[in-house]
């Protein structure tokens, strides 16, 4: 799993704190960790940091406005305020560190009128970002402690990995599946642990290309993506789409059943087929097997669900899932009226605040 913006900032500051102690000639002690924690939560700006660190902290605050608060803004006024706040934080970050990859990337995303503009920007600059992060890592102070040195290298790489992951995701949302897969493989070469979960997006891309063999090849190469104990909802959704598209409704139904039993609110989540706003920092974290995971997977799979004409305007697969769940509810003894109400309620409902759609790249709503 990747770090959230706050978690990453914490680790960056902690490493800087340790380096400071060593520069003073002593070795860090467990007490130092406690002191750091206190200082970090009460007085972060007093901690030793570079302009790059300050810029990253501003990005953290911008992400808080844009990714966390903005989608749930209660009024248009509040939404505008949060947007302006986020934009200003990013601008200030870039004044401190003009090459801050996360700030550049999020700013480009907010400014681009169309996804293809943003995608071109990402693709044109990905190699520069890679070089930048490598150079910064190389020029920085190394740590003797191998764990800390490994963390330092990892933290330096993260902005590049997020940049590449944004390429993967945006290619997928734009219907550029082979590009998505190529970039996904590129990301896996740089991040073999797949901390950002690129494989999940790649599975959905294989489903969109109706390439069951390609998906099987990916799973053979990455057996870690498939856990024996917990089903991966992205994989199940991909398999369901592949089965449905080859007109094998029985196999599709089995996959749907697996999803419906994955957590208590699964039927509602799959009925709603809600689409979350685009997360600018990176895909949000979730606990494996949790409801959050299913919500996120279904949201990203909206491209699979919404494709193709269907009288209920939910897409060919989306319409089928809706009708199957309705049948299932009837079989469980719910009245026809209750089921119709549940479906109408779920279909009419959406995620996010009233103005969540207007801000950020909404890859779902208008398709």
């Amino acid at each position: 799993m990747s770090y959230s913006a706050e978690e990453e900032d914490y680790r960056r500051m902690y490493l800087a704190y340790l380096a400071d102690i060593r520069r003073g000639g002593s070795e860090p002690t467990p007490d130092d960790l406690l002191t750091f924690r206190r200082q970090y939560s009460c007085n972060r700006q007093k901690l030793s940091q570079t302009d790059e660190d300050r810029a990253f902290f501003l990005v953290v605050q911008a992400v808080d406005c844009i990714d966390k608060k903005l989608p749930y803004a209660a009024t248009e006024k509040q939404a505008k305020k949060l947007t302006k706040q986020g934009e200003r934080l990013l601008e200030t970050a870039l004044e401190l560190d003009p090459f801050c990859p996360d700030a550049l990337r999020i700013q480009a995303s907010r400014k681009a009128e169309y996804t293809f503009e943003f995608l071109n920007y990402l693709l044109e600059n990905k190699d520069k970002v890679r070089l930048l992060t490598k150079t910064r890592c190389h020029e920085g102070e190394t740590y003797e402690n191998p764990k800390q040195e490994s963390l330092r290298a990892d933290l330096h790489a993260r902005p590049y990995l997020r940049w590449l992951f944004a390429c993967v995701q945006n290619c997928f949302f734009s219907g550029r599946y082979r590009q998505c897969l190529d970039l996904g493989h590129e990301l896996l070469r740089s991040d073999p642990d797949d901390s950002l979960g690129a494989i999940n997006t790649m599975m959905l891309a294989y489903a969109q290309l109706e390439d069951g063999k390609g998906l099987a090849r990916l799973l053979r190469k990455r057996p870690d993506a498939v856990s024996e104990h917990k089903a991966n909802p992205w994989l199940t959704l991909a398999r369901m789409a592949l089965a449905y598209r080859r007109l094998d409704e029985d196999a599709a139904r089995e996959c749907l059943s697996e999803l419906l039993h994955s957590c208590p609110n699964a039927p509602l989540i799959l009925l709603r087929q809600g689409e979350l706003p685009y997360s600018e920092f990176t895909r949000p974290n979730y606990a494996s097997g949790s409801e959050d995971e299913l919500v996120l997977a279904v949201s990203e799979a909206s491209i699979l669900l919404r494709e193709g004409q269907d009288p209920e305007a939910r897409g060919s697969l989306g319409g089928w899932v809706t009708r199957e769940i309705a049948q299932e509810l009837l079989r469980h003894g719910y009245s026809r009226e209750d089921v119709e109400r549940a479906v109408a309620g779920a279909v009419g409902d959406g995620f996010g605040g009233a103005f969540g759609d207007e801000f950020g790249v909404d890859y779902g709503g208008d398709r």
Binding site: Y114, G175, R176, Q208, R245, R246, I303, Q309, D310, S316
Partner: protein, 330 residues
């Protein structure tokens, strides 16, 4: 949506791909010939002449009776469609509903004579089902799998029409490999491709980003056909090959009448009953057909239209065409 576009997109003078009368004549000739046994060339020619002049006396079986009713029903439908004029949306909808009702009545009448009349069954499904999973199931129930069907054999044509229609509906409902499967008879065997199944296949291959498949098929189509040009532009765009995509787009806009206009303002295209109507190659009608059939594939690549609209030359071409033809949009 301009109402003027609705009639424009249905083909010229009620022309439809299915040459119903010709097929009726061929069927009657074939039945009679089988009944009479071996005929001298002279006698055969006389038979052909006689049937062509008036096939009605040669309708001797319930199957031909049904087929004849179907042909009349279809001709009437297409004549009515070509002649229709509307001043508002309500009129349009009312006339359309009536037209389709009449067609369905004709189908029922035909099925009264021959409940297995494949074309009547096909028309009934297409007239009552918008592209949908249910429509696909209905069409699949009409598909026969016991032999290979060829266009030269007049008795095979209904099945080929069913498969072509199924291929198109599978495309519309986002099942591209299955769409290719049912277009296969045209891809493999029927070089002349009378039902234009290759056009459907080009869209499916572009959507699936199957470059090898696409290039292979493109060799069998006219290189500058709007189908090839638009699909190539879409395919190249999806692969991130902007220069190739732009070149193909330019050709589409400048060679295909109203191509830019059709892209930015897709017109309503009437459901094909039963086949894609014949239109003048490179005409505006053809541009509209391409955009309509590629709709699902285009929606899957939402950036493509935005990207097209970012070109000044494309917008100008669209505006110029609209001005020339008096099109307006709300």
């Amino acid at each position: 949506m301009s109402l003027a576009l609705t009639t424009v997109a249905t083909g010229k003078d009620g022309d439809c791909q299915m040459r119903g009368r010709e097929e009726l004549v061929s069927r009657c000739i074939d039945r009679k010939k089988r009944k009479l046994g071996v005929l001298s060339p002279g006698a055969y020619d006389e038979l052909v002449q006689a049937v062509k002049e008036d096939p009605v006396p040669f309708i001797e079986t319930p199957e031909e009776e049904a087929f004849c009713i179907l042909v009349e029903t279809l001709d009437a439908y297409h004549e009515r469609l070509a002649a229709a004029e509307y001043t508002n949306e309500e009129d349009f909808q009312r006339e359309r509903d009536l037209r389709i009702q009449t067609l369905l009545q004709g189908c029922e009448e035909a099925l009264g004579y021959d409940e297995r009349c494949q074309d009547a069954l096909l028309l009934r499904v297409l007239a009552q089902n918008p592209p949908s999973a249910a429509g696909v199931k209905e069409l699949m129930s009409l598909v026969k799998k016991n032999k290979t069907f060829v266009w030269e054999n007049i008795w095979d044509r209904p099945q080929l029409r069913i498969r072509a229609a199924l291929s198109r509906m599978l495309l519309d409902t986002g099942r591209y490999r299955q769409s290719l499967r049912y277009a296969k008879w045209a891809l493999d065997q029927e070089a002349s491709d009378p039902l234009g199944a290759r056009k459907t296949a080009l869209i499916a291959l572009a959507r699936l980003e199957d470059v090898a498949g696409f290039e292979k098929l493109v060799r069998e189509e006219p290189p500058e056909s709007p189908w090839v040009l638009l699909c190539r532009s879409l395919l190249s765009f999806k692969l991130g090959q902007e220069a190739e995509a732009t070149a193909a787009l330019q050709q589409f806009v400048f060679r295909c009448e109203g191509g830019a206009c059709a892209l930015l303002h897709p017109g309503f295209v009437e459901v094909y009953l039963p086949d894609r109507p014949q239109v003048e190659p490179f005409s505006f009608e053809e541009s509209l057909q391409v955009i309509r059939e590629a709709e699902t594939a285009l929606e899957d690549c939402p950036d493509f239209i935005d990207w097209c609209a970012s070109f000044d030359w494309l917008n100008k071409a669209s505006d110029d065409f609209a001005d020339e033809h008096g099109f307006e949009w709300e």
